[in-house]
């Protein structure tokens, strides 16, 4: 990384320069620096609306960058150790989809862990590729999905030598990492692309003593959520590529679905955040790790909670653990993570990242303060005192092996009928059923519905999980193939 060049912010500088020019706008957007919509100025401030502008010569164009956006992307590539970096404005969802579209055409196979983000499965609906799922193993005590084991990856490759790519979460929402380096090598040996979903892994590129990042592991593409641990504006993201991928082709793929009116607020925030990470990332994430580990030790002193950490590492399903993730298992106080999530929000004014059947996750970042960690620990202590119940039998998030009967695309577009959920056993599902939190599919389009799956849905619903995806909001019915 070139530290001198990393101090520059070419896109942000161009925006600042443009603001001072006071150019008369006869182009879009129609609010014309906010003059046509005062409510927008009250909402966002003059400074913000002044740079909400359209692509123009001095500000470059995201669809085909030649000047300041190109320079900003080059700096990002340098900072992340990538051959090239694309600025993305459709979220990391856009970046994940672009990875899948680059690797797969209709009918191609792609190997992925079952706990992929729904953006990956939706990408399959769009492009017609066939998923080959790997059981990510589940820690039944904690109720969380883990990582892919090397033997399972080898088996999937051996059984599907024609697959085009392997998708890897690095890390998962819960901070779990698979053996990325080995999986990348297995993929390359089998002439497959290694695609990495680093929606929760921006900091891995800058912090010390953190799990290996995608580009350093030699991956071909990585989707990096700059707006999560990277600190940029929500919806801004990066798509990184390695030497083995054709930049021009990826650019064409991105332009298939990405807007032609990219927001300069988002783009500028990417440029500024990249500089901040490059210059200060190391000490920032050292502080984040320190705060997370302090929080972990304080919370573990309270009876009934278990904030897990690197002791989970087992060399297989948990190859590495991202210490910045503060996941707290709540089974010991007899409450579900969802119940604790709700109590924290409603009674203590504390907003957590998510709660699932057994855990709540606190997202610790460069914006956190120690005094807020004290509040979280104090509130958890109070919840244990006031609301704990005897530890009951919990619904355990066991892995439900999907039985893929049709591609997600075939199933999504097929003729279907809606049936009461109880009558769907043995049918092929036409829609997705996601369990929120944590957003892992129970069913994807094209999969066979089994008794086990219906039991899972019923139990998760009863525990207060929000089930999303099906047309019928209360999931009393499911769409199945005719």
């Amino acid at each position: 990384m070139d530290n001198t060049r990393q101090q520059e912010v070419p896109l942000y500088s161009a925006l600042e320069k443009f603001r001072r020019l006071r150019v008369v706008p006869f182009d879009v957007p129609g609010h014309k620096r906010g003059r046509g919509n005062r409510g927008l100025v009250d909402f966002l401030g003059q400074q913000c609306v002044e740079i909400d502008v359209n692509s123009m010569k001095p500000l470059d164009n995201l669809c085909h960058p030649v000047s300041v956006i190109k320079e900003a992307e080059e700096l990002a590539a340098d900072a992340f150790g990538a051959a090239h970096a694309f600025f993305m404005v459709g979220g990391t969802t856009g970046a994940v989809q672009s990875m899948v579209f680059t690797a797969c055409k209709r009918g191609d196979k792609i190997i992925m862990p079952r706990n992929v983000h729904k953006s990956a499965i939706n990408a399959l609906v769009l492009c017609g590729a066939i998923p080959v799922y790997i059981d990510p193993k589940v820690d039944t005590k904690l109720g969380i999905p883990l990582g892919m084991e090397i033997d399972d990856v080898k088996k999937a490759i051996a059984e599907n030598p024609d697959a085009k790519a392997i998708l890897i979460n690095n890390p998962s929402y819960y901070g779990i990492c698979s053996d990325l380096k080995t999986i990348v090598k297995l993929a390359h040996d089998a002439r497959m692309l290694a695609l990495v979903d680093e929606a929760h892994g921006t900091h891995l590129y800058f912090g010390e003593d953190l799990p290996l990042n995608g580009m350093a592991a030699g991956a071909d593409m990585s989707a990096v959520s700059m707006h999560k641990s990277g600190g940029s504006l929500t919806q801004s993201s990066l798509l990184l590529i390695g030497e083995g991928v054709n930049e021009g082709y990826v650019s064409n793929i991105i332009n298939l679905t990405q807007t032609t009116s990219a927001s300069y607020l988002l783009l500028g925030s990417l440029d500024i955040s990249r500089r901040n990470l490059a210059l200060h990332g190391r000490e920032s994430f050292a502080k984040v790790c320190e705060m997370a580990s302090y929080a972990r030790s304080e919370i573990n002193e309270i009876e009934g909670y278990y904030a897990f950490g690197s002791e989970l590492i087992n060399g297989r399903s948990v190859f590495d653990f991202d210490e910045t993730k503060l996941v707290i298992n709540t089974r010991g106080i007899g409450l579900t993570g969802i119940e604790v999530y709700d109590l924290l929000r409603e009674e203590y004014d504390i907003q957590m990242e998510f709660g699932d059947l057994s855990n709540v996750l606190a997202y610790i970042s460069i914006g956190d303060r120690l005094q807020d960690i004290e509040r979280l620990a104090g509130a958890l202590d109070d919840i244990a005192r006031l609301y704990s119940k005897p530890e009951g039998s919990f619904f355990s998030a066991e892995y439900v092996t999907p039985i893929v009967k049709a591609t997600p695309q075939e199933a999504f577009y097929a003729e279907k009928i809606k049936l009461p959920i109880g009558e769907t056993v043995g049918r092929i599902c036409a829609e997705s059923v996601m369990c929120y939190p944590p957003g892992i599919p129970i069913l994807a389009p094209g999969e066979m519905i089994t008794r086990d799956i219906l039991d899972y849905i019923a139990a998760a619903k009863e525990k207060g999980c929000s089930m999303q995806g099906p047309e019928s909001e209360d999931i009393s019915e499911l769409c199945v193939l005719k």
Binding site: E298, E301, Y348, Q371, R375, A377, G378, D382, R385
Partner: protein
């Protein structure tokens, strides 16, 4: 003397539309700790006063009001206080008032900001003398962190934090009141700064505080005092208790026998302080 003075004023916004100004003779100290900016001024009207992030915390001429009100009110109610915890209170004023009571065995002070204590020791020796009492132990620790390790440990907890929006925000939360409840004996009392109810923007904090404490303790009452540098010159304190009622269990004779010299508190005032203006009564009732 007037000709020796210049137009040198400290100003504090009490609302977006109301400003308090104090003429300053000298700016004695300015420093930034891990938590806040601390300044000390000398003024003709209030003597020396200390500010935190530009808000007056106390002045020499009026600190007696709240130090007395936050200590003597619960001490005249609880019959046998042996262990006291003060959260914040690094200036020593609360400890100084507590040191009048012989039966107290332990005065623990949890104050995260050591710089605040050091500055008070240097510029406000009349307050800081309270920290010299042999029964006082200072813990330079976050209040919530300190409380988490306490269970059934204190007879009285005094929350001396004043600003529900700044670095002490954690001391105005449900988790704080809950942690206090846990740290108190079965007949324990917690008193705390309840803010000023007059201006609209302060009223919401006042309401939220009462709402949270009301849910956490069986007995919750609010009492008042007149403090010139506070917004509207008007300040409330909270009295939350597991067993003792601030008026029904109040024992004026026992307190009078102690012969403690005060400037603000009297046993008459004790009772009057709980008689609130109608609008304050309404605010509290609405949150119960």
């Amino acid at each position: 003397m007037a000709e020796n003075r210049m137009e040198y004023w400290f100003e504090e916004m009490h609302t977006a539309n109301v400003k308090m100004a104090i003429r300053v003779d000298q700016h004695l100290y300015s420093g930034t700790s891990e938590f806040r900016r601390i300044d000390v001024f000398d003024s003709p009207e209030f003597g020396k006063f200390l500010t935190s992030n530009g808000n007056v915390i106390f002045s020499e001429q009026e600190e007696f009001t709240y130090d007395e009100m936050i200590v003597h009110v619960p001490m005249a109610v609880h019959p046998d206080v042996k262990r006291v915890l003060v959260i914040g209170g690094g200036d020593g004023g609360v400890a100084r008032e507590l040191s009048h009571y012989k039966e107290i065995e332990v005065i623990d002070i949890a104050e995260p900001d050591k710089m605040f204590v050091d500055v008070c020791r240097k510029y406000f020796p009349d307050n800081a003398i309270g920290l010299e009492d042999v029964r006082v132990r200072i813990y330079y620790e976050d209040g919530l962190r300190f409380l988490r390790r306490c269970k059934d440990k204190y007879d009285l907890i005094i929350n001396d934090a004043t600003d529900p929006l700044g670095h002490e925000a954690g001391l105005f939360t449900k988790e704080f009141y809950g942690n206090c409840y846990k740290a108190l004996h079965e007949d324990g009392i917690m008193v705390y700064q309840h803010g000023s109810p007059f201006f609209d923007e302060d009223e919401e904090n006042c309401r939220a505080m009462h709402r949270k404490v009301f849910k956490s303790f069986p007995i919750t009452r609010v009492y008042q005092a007149h403090i010139p540098t506070c917004p509207a010159g008007y300040w409330l304190f909270g009295f939350a208790s597991k067993k003792y009622h601030p008026l029904k269990d109040f024992d004026p004779e026992r307190w009078e026998k102690r012969n403690i010299k005060t400037w603000y508190y009297t046993t008459h005032l004790h009772q009057g302080a709980f008689m609130l203006p109608k609008y304050v009564e309404d605010i509290m009732k609405e949150e119960e």
